[in-house]
């Protein structure tokens, strides 16, 4: 009887201990080395199967470093920032973390969750890197970019014919858009497609006029809005309200021949190539430099880099640093250029690799498009960025759907950013 009682008392303790032990084991998926003695480096990344650059980098690095086993920690792209934030808060030891955007990077770095990589960064040839400066936090670097996307003008060669698109101003672009617009009803094809993101209008005016998106004074957006709304009025572009309510994808507009020109990020090239290989579209596309406000021969556009950082609690910090440095260097750049992704590090050799990808347009115009003079950051980094981004997005929707005039919308942006954020 006594034994029964004691057992009854002990049993829950035993179960609890067993559960805790199991949990420890599960969370400590541990091992800083694999069964064959290799050093294991775990990399947090997103959508591994559909984002071929990660496999390209991992395979390339492992081939050069047979003593290191790089293991992907695959996370869904949409929930990536939230998941990484939670992982870091829970003391996760994943060695390498992919920095999806610069805002998240600044957050992790200022909280002291990343290992400094200043020594590695200062060794790099800055002239060959795009986006490296965006990771400079008061003279220190905590991540190194391995890819850098910027916006170009994609176009359907069969629809644009022999039009010269090498040095377009926005006025030229609007004229061409009207010229390429044809048909009516369900047969209608538009001269261009402007996606619903606010960047399409706002980030480009900010980059090309030098206007500050965090400043609270948004008069510099006006010309670009007038141009976009003018195209809408001329019916040379799918109306914003139709695009947003039907949740139109930019990909479908170009690949189904509904639009002749689409300003979009360089990441799209890899996706278009993959679609072509899978037989999903057979579009004859090319890239031109982004149209400009000033016609001074320079190409100013906007973009955003993607980088790798090393977790401060990394199990194998040295091997992790090795991977990050390799990925951002010439060899990593070659690995991603081979699949049509634009690397942060560029050289003539890397560009040759990029343009030798099967299906990539090889004309001189596409080559020029891939070498802009200046790439400005899409949105400056600050603790106020996300609040201001939300306000600018809301007012953008109202202006583009004709609910507010450009002047009234800009006035509201100024007022709300000053009253609610600054």
């Amino acid at each position: 009887m006594k034994l029964k009682k004691s057992l009854a008392r002990i049993a829950p303790l035993v179960v609890a201990t067993a559960l805790t032990a199991t949990a420890c084991d599960a969370s400590g998926t541990d091992s800083s080395s694999s069964s064959d003695g290799k050093t294991v480096v775990k990399v947090a990344l997103w959508n591994y199967k559909t984002t071929p650059e990660f496999k390209a980098l991992i395979d390339g690095f492992e081939a050069k470093n047979p003593d290191i086993d790089v293991q992907p920690v695959d996370i869904l792209a949409d929930s990536y920032p939230d998941k990484v934030t939670t992982m870091l808060a829970g003391g996760d030891t994943t060695d390498v973390l992919t920095m999806k955007n610069v805002t998240d990077y600044a957050r992790y770095a200022t909280r002291g969750q990343l290992l400094p990589l200043t020594d590695e960064a200062t060794k790099l040839d800055k002239a060959s890197y795009s986006g490296l400066d965006d990771y400079n936090l008061k003279g220190k670097y905590y991540a190194l970019p391995y890819r850098s996307d910027f916006w170009v003008l994609f176009y359907n060669k069969d629809m644009t014919g022999k039009a010269d698109m090498s040095k377009l101003t926005w006025d030229d672009y609007a004229k061409l858009a009207k010229q390429f617009t044809k048909g009516s009803g369900s047969d209608k094809v538009y001269g261009t497609y402007l996606h619903t993101w606010r960047s399409v209008v706002q980030a480009i005016s900010s980059a090309q006029t030098g206007g500050d998106q965090l400043g609270g004074d948004y008069g510099f957006f006006k010309d670009q809005y007038d141009m976009a709304l003018g195209l809408q009025k001329a019916k040379a572009v799918l109306p914003f309200s139709a695009a947003s309510s039907n949740q139109i994808t930019y990909d479908s507009q170009l690949t189904t021949g509904k639009a002749a020109m689409v300003p979009m990020g360089s990441w799209w090239a890899a996706a278009l190539l993959a679609e072509k290989q899978q037989g999903k579209n057979d579009i004859n596309w090319g890239m031109a430099p982004m149209p400009q406000i000033k016609s001074d021969g320079k190409t100013v556009t906007f973009g955003s880099p993607t980088a790798f950082a090393v977790n401060k609690k990394a199990k194998n910090a040295d091997a992790a640093k090795k991977f990050v440095t390799w990925a951002s260097g010439p060899e990593g750049a070659a690995a991603v250029a081979k699949i049509g992704v634009t690397p942060a590090y560029t050289s003539d050799k890397i560009l040759d690799t990029f343009f030798s990808v099967d299906g990539m347009p090889t004309d001189a115009l596409s080559r020029t498009a891939m070498q802009p003079t200046t790439v400005k950051l899409e949105m400056p980094v600050s603790d106020k960025t996300s609040d201001i981004d939300q306000i600018l997005k809301e007012e953008h929707e109202l202006i583009m759907s004709g609910e507010k005039s450009v002047d009234a919308g800009i006035k509201e942006m100024d007022k709300r950013v000053k009253d609610e954020v600054q």
Partner: protein, 319 residues
């Protein structure tokens, strides 16, 4: 066990005083009460533990969090009433509050009316009535994202069938629906009524079974027409169901989130931003869990006050 055991009586000694016997009685009763209490607790304990861990503790946590500044990573910082002060001055909060009331003002009476009407219609003995009942219930079990996507297509400003039909009827400028500040909320209300009506119709159908048939017979004999029978027999008979359904729709209206998030994301501008969405945006997207908790506390109080008012009104009408 052999034959029936003799009844157990409390041991009584010859010299025991009546007081001592009463004390023994009391002690036995106390023991019995304690044992019953323990048995009772052991029955509700598993359920209570689940409720405590998944509801009670988080609610109390959220209440405490509303007085802190916390980004889910660093240590929470006590900020007193700062979050509530901010709430008072936040134009997003007032916009969301106004939109939530707007949504509720449209969604509650419409859902109530449509589902009651459907229930009365489909309570008749008609051919194929079961198929119709299933058809009306179907939207409720359909994925909400699918509902939102379908309605976005139906309400598309230029190519949607709704606007094409309106144009056919001679409407020159049919609404822009989800891309218009004035029409986005009505669009959400239409979609949500369509989705919810089947569920509440089923509740009303169940309620209709409880209305005694004799009352209808008596009313008919007194010469009452269909409308009078509905007004004087059906509605009073459905009072408990109507009350329950109204409370349920009210609470769900104030908590609306998913449909808005998928159909309009609170836009255009912030014309359809609702309180639950503001909580999500502030907490999950911006990492301001303290402020998000303050907003959720405000939403909780609104729901509580409205539900208490409804209960009071129900009690008064029962008297």
């Amino acid at each position: 066990m052999s034959a029936a055991a003799p009844p157990v009586a409390p041991p009584v000694t010859k010299n025991a005083s009546p007081g001592a016997s009463a004390a023994a009685h009391q002690a036995a009763a106390k023991r019995r009460r304690r044992r019953n209490l323990l048995v009772g607790w052991s029955f509700i304990l598993p359920n209570f533990l689940g409720f405590a861990a998944l509801t009670l503790v988080p609610v109390i946590g959220a209440l405490a969090m509303a007085f802190t500044q916390w980004d889910s990573y660093s240590t929470p910082k006590w900020v007193g009433l700062d979050n509530f002060q901010r709430l008072w001055n936040d134009s997003n909060f007032w916009a969301a509050l106004q939109n939530t009331f707007y949504y509720a003002a449209g969604h509650i009476p419409l859902t109530l009316g449509v589902s009651l009407g459907l229930a009365v219609l489909l309570n008749q003995k008609l051919r194929g009535v079961h198929v119709l009942r299933t058809a009306f219930f179907f939207p409720y079990i359909t994925s909400l994202v699918a509902v939102a996507v379908v309605w976005n297509m139906l309400l598309s400003p230029d190519s949607g069938p709704v606007n094409q039909f309106l144009s056919f009827l001679g409407v020159d400028h049919p609404p822009g629906w989800t891309s218009s500040r004035d029409w986005a909320m009505p669009a959400l209300i239409i979609a949500s009524v369509w989705r919810d009506m089947g569920y509440y119709m089923v509740l009303f159908l169940a309620g209709l079974q409880t209305v005694p048939a004799e009352l209808y017979e008596a009313a008919r004999m007194d010469g009452a027409g269909p409308w009078q029978r509905f007004w004087h027999v059906t509605l009073p008979g459905l009072r408990p169901t109507t009350f329950f359904v109204t409370v349920m729709i009210t609470v769900s209206s104030f908590k609306v989130f998913d449909l808005v998030q998928v159909m309009t994301e609170g836009g255009p501008g912030r014309s359809t931003l609702v309180l639950s969405q503001l909580i999500f945006r502030e907490g999950i997207t911006q990492g301001r869990f303290g402020y998000a908790s303050a907003v959720s506390l405000a939403l909780f109080l609104i729901c509580l006050v409205i539900t208490v008012i409804q209960f009071q009104m129900q009690r008064r009408s029962e008297r």
